[in-house]
């Protein structure tokens, strides 16, 4: 038996709501890491937002003891946007519990995460959860999971994380089936950074899996990819509180307090080693994750620009995948162009900015990153439609492979939606007699607009959906500009496929006509491709706006009324001579709701 034999490192992978967090809670309880009384529901999801949305954003690791073994549970983010983070967390493990809801069976995310786990050579322990539910069909669910991971259905554990039934068997299976870590305790130290967080007093805290060798407190360390040097101010693990230890040994999972003030200097996937005795090779798999979805974030009140900048800086401390750079829009003033890993990531960042930093934001319509070859043979990456050159040789857009699982009655609806969104059918497979898996390749830009909502409404909420970016492909894409009273409005530019350009231009113009109040003069609204106008509407000037009467008795009141009116105008964005309410900029976001 090797020195690492007492250690087991594992993750739980599951679709949202299939009980991952409840199982984690129960494991803490059964192993007496935490008593039921001490336990808040779902300890591992520490952020308020996660709790509300039932998803996990930041991975954490908790050490529990079970029958003399040290079990490290590495929590993984539960959403498609964080695939890279999930893959790093999985790389830190030797095994994974694959949890499936006994009533729901396999979902798209289950598959995505199971494939990730298989790619990382993890030993998979299939678990069917919620067997206590009246509508549970554990045999069907077990059949699906067994087929997915190539196991016999008898090896699928059947539990109820809610009641605790079968949880001890899960812990035993972790010990029996998942192999102990392999690694050389005497080699130069190497530790995989699978997550990090920022503590305002202690700086960046890295979550690591020691692969080889050992770290000791106060040891000078180095991040191989970033080249960052620092000292291990404190080492330790979570149980679930922070528990300092003098050393972290090969095979163990824990944290390193780095004292670094900038989270971007220690990226997820990087390898930590000792400055004095550095490892020759970094651990495999490090990747500089690139944002795929971009949007402009502008403060509603331009005076809040410095607050927004500070807030983004602070968020970035905890979220290395967040990208931002200053952007100046003629229409919206000073703000930031931000890059996100996906739509959910964008939504989370926006909510955190508004909630935790109390900012009022205007978020422009999201777009994807485009690769452009200009007429002058220059290669560009365009993150903002208004930066797209009007004359291009070639534009490439990101494509995704989208997996949708639906009851068989909705196959037609999903096909139809995918066709409307320029999807290419890849394959179809029956998971069971009732449930079908559909795979399409689609331009990412097509799901950036309300694809999820459409999918949900056309399948009555039964569809589960997941995707992976598979690369860039050329597309016949055009830039549609919007002109208000003859002035182009940069924040409303769109990049769309030529076939859909007319309909989108029309819808946008119609929508703006509803959203922009009448002004003191006629306001033509035009949508244009280059110099060609493809849609036009006019907001007719107001004909009357007077205070009916004003005599000696009501001068004060009428003056205050006008003063308020003047203040109210400050909240409008002045675009050329036109006053545009902030909501109008969101109009582009909701166009697709009317497209069907």
């Amino acid at each position: 038996m090797s020195r690492l034999d007492p250690i087991r490192n594992f993750s739980i992978v599951a679709h949202i709501d299939h009980g991952k967090s409840t199982l984690a809670d129960r494991i803490l309880e059964v192993t007496q890491t935490l008593s039921r009384r001490e336990m808040r529901e779902q300890v591992l999801d520490s952020m308020e937002l996660e709790r509300e949305r039932g998803i996990t954003i930041k991975a954490q690791a908790v050490r529990v003891l079970w029958r003399g073994r040290q079990l490290n549970l590495i929590d993984t983010p539960g959403h498609v946007d964080f695939t890279y983070e999930v893959s790093r967390a999985l790389q830190a493990c030797e095994g994974a519990l694959l949890v499936v809801d006994a009533a729901q069976g396999i979902e798209a995310q289950t598959l995505a995460n199971a494939y990730l786990a298989i790619e990382n050579d993890l030993e998979i322990v299939p678990v069917v959860n919620k067997i206590d539910l009246p509508q549970a069909d554990p045999d069907a669910a077990a059949g699906e999971v067994a087929q997915l991971v190539g196991e016999s259905p008898d090896r699928v554990l059947r539990i109820s994380a809610k009641t605790g039934e079968g949880v001890e068997a899960v812990l035993d299976a972790i010990v029996e089936r998942i192999p102990p870590p392999e690694g050389d305790p005497e080699a130069p130290p190497r530790a995989l950074v699978f997550d990090s967080s920022y503590d305002q007093y202690r700086g960046v805290v890295a979550f690591v899996r020691m692969v080889d060798g050992r770290f000791t407190t106060r040891q000078p360390l180095r991040a191989l990819a970033a080249g960052t040097l620092f000292e291990a101010e404190e080492l330790g693990f979570f149980s679930p509180e922070r528990s300092p230890t003098p050393t972290l040994e090969a095979g163990e999972v824990g944290y390193v307090v780095t004292g670094l003030k900038d989270v971007s200097r220690l990226r997820v996937g990087d390898t930590l080693t000792a400055q004095a005795r550095p490892a020759a090779e970094p651990l495999p798999g490090y990747k500089d994750v690139k944002p795929t979805v971009f949007a402009g974030l502008f403060p509603t009140d331009s005076d809040e620009y410095p607050d927004l900048r500070d807030a983004l800086e602070k968020l970035k401390l905890n979220d290395a995948s967040l990208f931002y750079e200053p952007e100046t829009s003629q229409a919206l003033g000073f703000g930031f162009r931000c890059g996100f890993l996906g739509l959910l990531h964008m939504e989370i960042v926006r909510e955190r900015l508004e909630r935790e930093f109390d900012l009022d934001l205007l978020v422009t319509a999201p777009n994807v990153a485009y690769r452009v070859l200009t007429k002058a043979n220059e290669e560009l990456e365009v993150h903002n439609p208004s930066d797209m050159p009007r004359e291009v040789e070639l534009v490439e857009e990101p494509y995704i492979r989208a997996t949708t699982i639906v009851p068989k009655d909705y196959v037609g609806s999903v096909m139809e939606l995918s066709n409307e969104r320029r999807g290419r059918f890849h394959h179809l497979e029956y998971l069971s007699e009732e449930r079908v898996l559909l795979v399409f390749d689609l331009p990412l830009a097509e799901i950036v607009y309300d694809y999820y909502d459409q999918l949900k409404s056309r399948t009555r909420g039964y569809a589960s959906f997941d995707y992976d970016v598979i690369g860039f492909e050329p597309g016949d894409l055009v830039r549609v500009d919007v002109l208000l009273a003859g002035d182009p409005v940069d924040a409303l530019s769109l990049i769309v496929h030529r076939d859909g350009a007319y309909a989108r231009g029309r819808a946008l113009v119609d929508r703006l006509r509803e959203e922009i109040p009448r002004q003191m003069f006629d306001v033509p609204i035009q949508a244009a491709i280059g110099s060609r106008i493809i849609a036009r509407e006019t907001i007719r000037a107001r004909r009357k706006d007077v205070l009916a009467k004003c005599y000696g008795g009501d001068i004060t009141r009428k003056r205050k009324l006008l003063e308020r009116q003047k203040k109210g105008k400050k909240r409008m964005k002045q675009v050329g001579s036109v006053e545009v309410p902030q909501e109008a900029f969101l109009a582009v976001l909701n166009l697709d709701g009317e497209r069907k």
Partner: protein, 372 residues
């Protein structure tokens, strides 16, 4: 202001009935209390004799329904008030009898403002007005017979259910009477009034159609030879309402009676609306309860801008120094809504139709932001 206010407003709050859309300080009935109220008015005036100029230029009796006041008390009041070049009394048509017309004439009244509102009986019913069109015409001729050569008619447009044809009819009827002056107001449905409660939905429904009504009013009256001298006021040559011009020119005025407002020497005060409090204080020889505010030069200039731009004559720039947002002015000029002429600032014809919005634009947020 050593010279004191040259404009005096007297509030007579009594009415036979409170109309649903009204938000003035009014009291229904109480005829027995009219004498005590007139006593209190005169007592308040006595208190304020120092702020009133020796030569009062205009006197205005507003309401309420001043002509609903007990005739003997009204006569007593008119006799006790200072003489003035223009003495206006507001009257409801149903109160105007030959006797009342004579009483006013004898009392020194030079001008009567008649609250007509509409000539359509069904629209008057919606406004809860008692006088039908025949009563209006009779009242008008009683006043003419008594020798009044300066009569103003009040009209309201935007009454729930009022069509453009109804409005044309009202304007034609009014013009046919040949008044010297007309005031035309869009009906303001104040939130919370009984009227808004009953007719709010209909008003919202016809909001779009009503946009053209203001244009119709202006075009019709100007076409009939009236001067559109203020946003809502029209007159024959030389017949502007001098009392109201005083407000619009930013001159000092003294107001007496419940709810009345005064602005004298940079100070503005408003008497509380409670009749009991007013009568009680003055009976005991005290000033009535009031709310006060200072009207400093900055505020005065903003008000001067707001009021001055309602007129067809330019506001002298010197009187609105610090109140005008220079950038906005350039924008409004470019849009053809405002113009500088003769050392002053005025709205163009189209600008006057959008006067509220244009004025809000032009008003500087603070004197520091003003560039003219």
């Amino acid at each position: 202001m050593s010279a004191g206010a040259r404009h005096l407003y007297v509030h007579l709050p009594f009415c036979a009935h409170r109309c649903g859309y009204c938000d003035f300080v009014t009291l229904v009935g109480r005829r027995e209390g009219h004498g005590a109220y007139v006593d209190a008015l005169l007592a308040e005036l006595h208190f304020e004799q120092d702020v009133l100029a020796d030569d009062v230029e205009t006197l205005f009796l507003g309401g309420g329904t001043p002509t609903f006041t007990d005739p003997a008390e009204l006569a007593r009041l008119l006799a006790a008030l200072p003489r003035a070049a223009e003495v206006t009394v507001e009257a409801n048509p149903e109160t105007v009898t030959p006797e009342l017309a004579a009483l006013l004439r004898t009392g020194g009244v030079t001008r009567v403002s008649l609250g007509v509102q509409s000539f359509r009986p069904e629209l008057l019913a919606i406004l809860e007005r008692r006088a039908g069109p025949d009563v209006v015409r009779a009242a008008f001729y009683h006043l003419r017979d008594a020798g009044f050569d300066n009569i103003s008619l009040d009209l309201v447009y935007g009454i729930p259910g009022q069509s453009a044809a109804d409005l044309r009819h009202d304007l034609a009827e009014a013009i046919a009477l040949g008044p010297e002056h007309l005031s035309c107001y869009e009906l303001e449905a104040k939130p919370g009034t009984r009227f808004t409660h009953a007719h709010g939905d209909e008003l919202a429904r016809q909001a779009d159609a009503m946009e053209g009504y203001f244009e119709l009013v202006v075009e019709t009256l100007v076409g009939a030879g009236y001067r559109w001298y203020e946003t809502a006021n029209f007159c024959r040559a030389g017949r502007r309402a001098r009392h109201n011009l005083g407000y619009w020119h930013g001159e000092d005025y003294l107001g007496v009676g419940i709810g009345a407002v005064s602005t004298v020497g940079g100070r503005r005060w408003r008497n509380r609306a409670s009749l009991g409090g007013y009568l009680g204080a003055l009976a005991e020889g005290r000033l009535p309860p009031r709310d006060e505010e200072a009207v400093g030069p900055e505020v005065a200039h903003r008000e001067r801008l707001m009021l001055g731009l309602r007129l067809d004559e330019p506001v002298p720039l010197a009187q609105v120094a610090g109140a005008v947002d220079g950038e906005a002015l350039v924008r409004m000029e470019r849009l053809g809504l405002a113009e500088r002429r003769g050392g002053g600032l005025a709205l163009t014809r189209r600008g006057r139709f959008l006067g509220g919005g244009v004025t809000a634009e032009l008003m500087a947020e603070s004197p520091a932001k003003s560039t003219i």
